[in-house]
Symmetry: C2
Subunit: 403 residues, 2 copies
């Protein structure tokens, strides 16, 4: 008998996927011009030329037996060192190569980091709005994910609810800043307060609470925004990163886990991640990508379009009347679903799903309801799209405001 | 508290790793010429030029946003189709793209395939000698691995023991042919008999028993050897493959899982594998490798050196007096530990660990004891090495025969 748990899951398409598929189908039927697809977080700018050059040089000149041979289980030493050095230069940290574990993107990093610091039955806390894949990442480890409700006014941390939910069973806290889907960045004040609470609770409970920081959008932060490096503020921390957004390489599955050298058991955690891989069949990222990344470690794609798009959308949407927490980075924002006709329920929010489907079907305006991110009454806009598409979509957002 | 299970594992280096590290240390101290390292299964011949050409062309001419963008969760359609078509041409199968799930090597394929067809507490049977990583691959799924003892005369399947161990709890049987570490290939007779037993037991138990075939050495089969495609003989089967050996790309982590179209629930299994990835953080192999593989789908490296090495070693070792089951493929063989001085224990076998360490320390002759493969009294030779190294090592095998 095939596995019943996974079999049942195949029937359940994510809501994000449903909107994406609808967009594709509409484009096929009515033409690409009839679809304004703001549903997907796929970078819209190319990788830098230097990355292409690095790939070509490595393939052209490398000894193929060495180049394509097995990487060390814990990653290429030179790649690990280059990642550590870059983090140290930029954030005043003290990583060594041994603290870095190259992974297949941030998904791989998170799956390893969580397995390293939780035991069966533990609780992992995260904060709404949050990336829905955290659900399976955590439940696959035997731990339980609990979600602290959003602070809807700022999308910073709702500390009141957090302190209510933090108890002895919590062995890890998972944050995502800059944040998908809200586009906000946790301020230094937020990170300091979070660190202080965790330090106090560690003492009170007599065990570590690890802070796992999911940071694929670290390099997409807008002008003048305060963007602290969370591991700088809290010792028991593991930073999870992917080059997918900064270098526009989501398909190449390259990222890392960086263990804070000051963490308890810091020297165990990367070797433990190597053991985790044996059970999940994950293994290293590709040898070629490890070597290529190393050559462009401090570079990024030209990310300026995301800020341009954010400003345009924010200005226009607020002009129309949408309530929006101003994005500070990423290529997302999370406006409140408009309620001009006063159909909101008791909780003060309209049904985002209904509104999003209406806008999709009637206008070809494809966004994603916030319920997927445990943020009802809101919708996510992914603006990693051509600016012209946003310009053309503004009249549609005006129409949808009337729904 | 960090995870205690993985923490304890970090202290326990595999025996293979210990021999490998000893070889590296000896080379550093006494020079590379003092080490004859037969401990590692890393291909010694380069990837074909056509693979290099494919990589360069794709990187040079591809639109970087598309090229490096997210692959579909279940893999690139064109890659899936090319794998299916190739298997159909070669083995008379009826795979469609939807039956193929590209993975990060065979490790990824096995980890997914097992999770798809077992439920918690099930038993998976495999056959000694076997690849020791099957242990964590299976235990990570919640199932239990049980190992059928070897048929030491042929390294084909020990059917008597197999039938004793096959019971209602068995939901999957895992085979590896061509086999690491023995170098033998299961004959058509073996596969037919295995399939017949499984068919009968499926009827008797009223549930499927899936046959998972681990085939990374499929293309390394020596002249005149009968090498059946197991899925041709049994409907409920999943073929797991890696291009690591055929194209000499172990570091590039590219392989696949191919679900037999005739299997029960065949159309569920690839979508289920996609769900499995969400829990393990595995995701697809890299977009670039999927596209490159597609262009060289029917090619291999020049694999002839492995047969040349096998013949040389087999001839010389048997001349010296070693008992060896003649390898039929791969780049391994598994001779019996010699016992000229009659120190074998009750079971008729000498302590392979002791003999291997003596040969390593006194002669720099690095092999691996068979105990790791649940095959006591034997040792594995990996002959993916330059032929000259084998020629120089023959006198050492002569000396070690006297131990």
């Amino acid at each position: 008998m095939i596995n019943q748990f996974y079999k049942e899951m195949t029937g359940k398409e994510s809501v994000i996927r449903q909107f994406f598929d609808f967009a594709r189908q509409r484009a096929a039927e009515k033409g690409q011009d009839s679809v304004f697809n703001f549903s997907i977080g796929n970078p819209s700018v190319p990788a830098p030329d230097s990355f292409k050059k690095a790939l070509l040089e490595i393939v052209e000149n490398g000894d193929p037996v060495k180049l394509h041979g097995y990487s060390p289980t814990l990653g290429q030493d030179s790649t690990k060192k280059s990642i550590a050095d870059s983090l140290n230069r930029r954030f005043g940290m003290n990583y060594e190569a041994k603290h870095i574990f190259p992974t297949s993107g941030a998904a791989g990093a998170l799956a390893h980091a969580i397995r390293c610091v939780v035991n069966d039955g533990d609780t992992v806390l995260t904060f709404a709005p949050y990336f829905p894949e955290y659900g399976p990442y955590v439940s696959g480890t035997g731990a339980k994910l609990q979600v602290v409700p959003a602070d809807y006014d700022t999308f910073q941390i709702n500390f009141e609810k957090f302190e209510e939910m933090l108890d002895e069973n919590v062995s890890a806290v998972l944050i995502n800043s800059p944040n998908n889907p809200s586009g906000i960045v946790y301020t230094t004040e937020t990170i300091e307060r979070l660190a202080e609470i965790l330090e106090n609770k560690q003492s009170e409970y007599g065990h570590e609470i690890f802070l796992i920081t999911d940071e694929p959008y670290r390099e997409i932060v807008f002008e003048g925004v305060d963007s602290p490096f969370p591991s700088k503020f809290y010792d028991n921390s593991i930073c999870c990163y992917s080059f997918s957004k900064s270098l526009s390489l989501p398909g190449e599955r390259i990222g890392y886990m960086a263990v804070n050298p000051a963490a308890k058991d810091a020297d165990y955690l990367v070797p433990m991640a190597g053991q985790v891989s044996r059970f999940t069949g994950h293994n290293c990222p590709t040898a070629l990508m490890q070597l290529a990344i190393e050559r462009v470690i401090d570079e990024t794609s030209d990310l300026s379009i995301y800020e341009k798009n954010a400003n345009l959308l924010y200005t226009e949407l607020t002009r129309i009347g949408y309530k929006v927490v101003k994005p500070m980075g990423t290529f997302y924002m999370m406006p409140r679903v408009p309620d001009k006709n006063g159909t909101a329920g008791e909780n003060g929010y309209r049904d985002a799903n209904e509104w999003c489907w209406k806008a999709a079907r009637e206008l070809g305006l494809i966004t994603v309801p916030g319920d997927s991110f445990q943020c009802p009454g809101h919708f996510r806009i992914s603006y990693c799209v051509p600016t012209e598409m946003i310009e053309k979509a503004i009249p549609l957002f005006e129409k949808a405001f009337e729904y």
